[in-house]
Symmetry: C2
Subunit: 356 residues, 2 copies
């Protein structure tokens, strides 16, 4: 979700950055009172939140503004809470994936792995120390998503609804992460419906559905509109994940900044592999996927087989269909025209990605 | 903190168990709606919370009752929130320590490591899967500590104070856990003051100080009493940790259920090693501590050297002094006599442990 996106009204994320900067300043000062090393950890955590595109906060602010909300300071606090949730989830996701860098620079775990290695510790010990600090740092980001939301100055009913949305986002993304961990352990291919369920739980709820709904709740929207935005976010977020998986395999590495093929090699389940598993090319693809250190030639062969099996085209069509369903949801009469026009360009996030 | 303790009024933790059982029932049903595997994970998380002594909840309830509080249902919800925090911290602590069992049965990580191994995955992969599920399960326990506290039916000021206590507990224990991860990576021995700071941050705040204070806040106590209880809990909790480290090295394994020597072999910093590091026996002790798979004879030699260096006696004295300071704090005039008499037996928790 690090890609630049077009959102109506070109919502400024400076307010959110201000809330986050003030939050991290408080945390760093408080941490320093306990131990200098603790402050340093907070600095690494803060560094991990900068440079992102503030996608979720911008969804909160966009919906809130498009529905006529004017208290942007309060909205920015809600938005910042979703950004901290995102930080927590990527820090812990990196622990689960044993990733030590993000956007080419060491993440929290990477920074502490490097530090431990520089102190003369053997690689395995340094790695585990790095991952351990990642667990701790992610915990703090997660707790403070709740704390920030608790600071929002609003009436009890709105506060409860916002709390429920954050809770649902966390409950669902944990389910998605769990299924993501468990799926590759069982060699049976999964039907595409299960893969989509996992994508929805892991990404769509917290990255699309909940932030869109939070903006609406804060603007005082009726339940029907909130539900409609949920449906829009769910479909669009799932489409995004299907597109993202396509990019991971067929995308241009220099453009996406991702190492192509990486996810599939790790046994991740995607719509692509589910479709391929139904076709005669699958046994050969499965052999390639389970090859450690797959060569460039092997990866190229697997890509060809995924195209030949029709899996790529079916995945692209799936992403397009889900995007259409998202746009259909916006036609519900509960959606004011300004909001509809403002959110529709979000589908470009997906459409652009599928043009691989 | 799994040891049975005497608390005045023999507070019944059944109410807390009821709150937790209702919470887990809701979570399991909700999880089942997402995926059967998700429900299973919640069952493992719940199993990890049963069998404990509910030490922190009992502190909350004891202080609340001793100060005349009568709404035990509300107090039990606050108490349950601290139990979920404890669950989160031990689940994540086990991830950091790569422990796959607790009290002799597989913990969440152990259950999923075993499951992955049974599915035919190699040991390293199965272990990492287990630890990954531990990260996720701990996250959920942590978030729901906030959620449970949010359900407490009280006035806004009390609610804010309780939120601040939970926040301080998490902020401090994360600092302690961080220092605990970082310390063994640097071979320089630490002064005893730093070791005590770490123990206070990692254990005393969330296990003693915050639950005691939460019970008082909920009972409407004045600030001075809340601060006094903080001092009492800080000293007693730190004493507890010093005693616990002594038990870990000198205790009877069959009685404590712990593998003696385990913590020191992993390079953990304790008052014991800090004191020993000042003495001529240290170079030999340091060699023994850094020996992988230290033999029983090697462990016995190290124990003898720790006694000979005076480190054991000094640690025992330290635990006794800290316990005295805790009891001194209770003499503050802000502490009603009933509360003082009710809490004083808590010092037995420490005194009993030091009788090794």
């Amino acid at each position: 979700m690090d890609k630049e996106t077009t959102l109506a009204g070109s919502v400024d994320s400076q307010l959110v950055n201000d809330v986050l900067a003030a939050f991290f300043d408080r945390a760093k000062n408080r941490a320093e009172g306990m131990h200098p090393d603790y402050r340093t950890m907070w600095e690494h955590l803060e560094a991990g939140t900068t440079g992102g595109k503030r996608f979720r906060p911008r969804l909160v602010l966009a919906v809130y503004s498009l529905l006529g909300g004017t208290d942007l300071t309060t909205a920015a606090t809600v938005a910042a809470s979703f950004e901290l949730l995102h930080t927590a989830l990527i820090v812990h996701d990196d622990v689960v994936d044993r990733d030590f860098a993000r956007r080419g620079v060491p993440n929290v775990s990477g920074a502490y792995r490097n530090r431990a290695a520089a102190q003369g510790n053997p690689p395995a010990r340094a790695e585990h120390a790095g991952l351990s600090v990642g667990v701790i740092a992610g915990d703090l980001a997660l707790c403070n998503a709740y704390r920030l939301l608790g600071e929002v100055d609003t009436d009890p009913v709105t506060r409860r609804k916002l709390g429920d949305l954050l809770d649902e986002a966390i409950f669902a993304s944990a389910a998605g992460e769990l299924l993501d961990v468990l799926a590759p352990l069982d060699p049976t291919p999964q039907p595409v419906d299960e893969v989509l369920d996992m994508a929805r739980l892991k990404t769509a709820v917290y990255s699309f559905e909940a932030p869109l709904q939070a903006g609406a709740v804060l603007a005082g929207a009726e339940d029907r509109l909130v539900n409609t935005l949920g449906e829009f976010g769910r479909c669009l977020g799932t489409a995004y994940q299907v597109a993202d998986d396509l990019i991971g395999v067929f995308g241009d590495e220099t453009r996406t900044g991702k190492v192509g093929w990486g996810d599939l090699r790790e046994g991740k389940r995607t719509a692509l592999t589910s479709y391929a598993a139904e076709q005669p090319q699958w046994p050969r693809i499965a052999v390639l996927l389970s090859t450690p250190d797959l060569s460039a030639a092997g990866a190229a062969e697997a890509r060809e087989l995924l195209i030949e099996s029709g899996a790529r085209d079916r995945s692209m069509q799936l992403a397009a269909d889900l995007t259409d369903r998202a746009l259909q949801a916006l036609l519900d009469p509960s959606v004011p025209e300004g909001l509809r026009n403002g959110l529709a360009p979000l589908s470009d996030v997906v459409i652009d990605r599928v043009r691989v």
